[in-house]
């Protein structure tokens, strides 16, 4: 089980089920919103939630036809991103965080979680 799974809040947003939930999750995961959790857990991956939030924002247009974006959403098979769209996603993340993302990480990425986790590794 991944750490992110243990921190998932209930799905309860009424006004924007796709994103409010995720934003809530992202915020909820920050130490300031969950003081009872072991702060050390966040020190090892300080950027994960920031990456996650950004990815969700960029992928908003792909959450169509009842698909609810979550960390386990698969970029290609589920959201239907083409290789060009994957590269556009990467470029937008690069611009936002002023970082370069090597192509080498792509084979290890299927889900949004995989991507955020790899980005976190790159910046750690």
């Amino acid at each position: 089980m991944r750490m992110a799974d243990t921190m998932a809040p209930p799905i309860n947003s009424k006004y924007n089920p796709e994103f409010a939930n995720l934003a809530a999750r992202a915020l909820w995961c920050k130490p300031v919103y969950c003081p009872k959790l072991d702060p050390g857990a966040y020190c090892s991956m300080p950027e994960y939630n920031e990456f996650l939030t950004r990815i969700f924002e960029i992928l908003k247009p792909f959450a169509k036809q009842g698909i609810i974006l979550n960390e386990d959403s698969e970029l290609v098979t589920e959201l239907g991103l083409t290789s060009l769209q994957v590269m556009e996603l990467i470029e937008q993340i690069e611009d936002h965080f002023d970082m370069s993302i090597p192509l080498n990480i792509l084979p290890d990425i299927r889900t949004i979680h995989d991507l955020a986790r790899q980005l976190e590794k790159l910046t750690s």
Partner: protein
Amino acid sequence: MSLFDKFQPIVEIRAELKKLGIMPFGAVTEKILSSTEAIVNGHKVILAGTNNYLGLTFDPECIAAAKKAVEEQGTGTTGSRMANGTFAEHVKLEQELAAYFDRKHAIVFSTGYAATMGMGSTLAGAGDVIVLDADSHASIYDGVRLGGAEVIRFRHNNSADLEKRLRRLGDRVSNTLIIVEGIYSMLGDQAPLADIAEVKRKYGGILLVDEAHSLGMLGEHGRGVAEAAGVEDDVDFVVGTFSKSLGATGGYCVSSHPELEAIRFAIRSYIFTASPSPSVIASTRVALRLMQERPELRVRLWENASRLYAGLKQLGFAVSPQISPVVAVTIKQRDQAISWWNELMQRGAYVNLVMPPASPTTDSLLRCSVSAAHSSEQIDRIIEAFATLKTPAADSDPVT
């Protein structure tokens, strides 16, 4: 689930095209009539998509040299350059290439693919970084993946984006290889090499330029975009091919870095393949000389390129961003591109149909390449064939 499942999309597209009676990929040239005309899939056509830029494939001197080589040295070398496959002529061609490019060292490869793939996979390995233009050719992408370096793309022809990438690397830029092309094969647009060289001077790194589509076309001596931009000293390695302007097959890398002679013995695509056949080396050597002796070929090529570009633009087609021997028409709808490709063939013009992912965007292309050997009348006939296509303006949005 089987190994073959992943090929299903290809199977489906092929079936769809077959139903329409169109087979654009793998069209068969049944009879080649000259460097600019052939019978393809049963149609007599003007060849407007063969990259035969200088039209040297039927040059009598090239043919005579190839014939002589076959008779004197046989049909093939049957061996690697590192074993029995280095003939005196391979070495001579390397010396002639080095002299032509005014560099100290040259390596001849069996194909252009082997040259770019081999250099990309060997120059930078584990622990090194490669920063490449996003629209780089498949041979570059294949190579860099094989080499194990960290691979970072920058936005196509965007030197500011390249600068960002190099800045972010910090000290690692000292073992960074930058890869760009001279003229890009699909749209024919040129790299802003003066800007790229400036960025390289500021940050460092090693610069490799693939001049496959620009050899013989640009610069005072025809050495390509680097010469035209006046930045050859900033380019560490030039790679290219014999299969376009030189009318044969094979590839090369030239450099003034003495290390190239050591690198040669580490390039797997150079070592583990048979060397080019004697006839190929012979015709290439003559073509390399003719290219230098006949600057008028280049003049003719650009006249033809300008004529075709202006003609298609006037008809309302979305042509490439700049005039080039590659004139590509961008078409939004794939089916429209397929149907037009077919119509052009029936009207006597053979061009290349390019669909994603081979095209740089989600659009399809009808890609023309002109030759110095085309007559003005042939260029006009290509334009006339395009003019018969229906509603170009509505389906082919201008490229900005």
